[in-house]
Symmetry: C2
């Protein structure tokens, strides 16, 4: 299991998308909903901001999405948080003198890339709006 940053990012973006009262939307409030520390939230928001998904203003509460939820795919969010581009690590420097060791890295890369693409397709197919719809149910 990778980590919970992707989950936290989606949670934060969902809150921003659904909270109308912007003065309420402080990092502390968000942290209360996510159940973490306000600094963790601000750190994550900094990353999402750099990726161009939202804006904020220093000293003033509230955040604004820069992309419509229906146009924001989960894959875009995943890329925004700079998640790993492969699922499985490949061990370093297998023995090149061995016929298996010599080719295993390239072979595994091929295998993992096909797995990765399948995952990307799924993330591409779902948007933040889909998540919001699920949350409202």
């Amino acid at each position: 299991m990778v980590n919970s940053r992707f989950s936290v990012a989606i949670h934060i973006l969902s809150l921003i998308a659904t909270t109308s009262d912007k003065s309420q939307l402080t990092s502390e409030y968000i942290a209360g909903s996510v159940n973490t520390n306000p600094v963790v939230v601000r750190r994550m928001i900094g990353v999402l901001k750099k990726a161009g998904l939202l804006t904020s203003q220093s000293g003033i509460a509230g955040y604004d999405l820069l992309v419509e939820p229906k146009d924001l795919t989960l894959l875009a969010i995943y890329h925004a948080i700079d998640g790993p581009e492969q699922l499985f690590a490949i061990h370093d420097e297998p023995n090149p003198a061995c016929s298996v060791g010599q080719k295993i890295q390239r072979t595994l890369e091929g295998v993992y890339t096909s797995v990765w693409h399948a995952m990307e397709e799924q993330l591409q197919a779902q948007t933040l709006q889909d998540v919001l719809d699920q949350l409202r149910k």
Copy 2:
């Protein structure tokens, strides 16, 4: 990125499948090809053994596959090494008093499950024999 155990497991199984001289196939030899410690290899082999993928005899070199490479899917190997059943962690105890916090876990589970299934399909579609064919090329 999860870890390199899956890669190491596939490497080990490939070696066992392709090495005809069983007396050569010691944990030290395998470790030399993988570029790790013999104990790491024996530990992994213990896991694969428990899962019923191979046999070995204490004190005597060599291992035998119990499943034909063409019948051994990468998904079976993945399950054998007890890899995580989800790709992304979900943060603990979001605030149930918040409409987002209340439903985010279940929602994310749904999202991640669909991603997971796509990945499983890919791993199910490839066998150890496919890996061996790639290695031989």
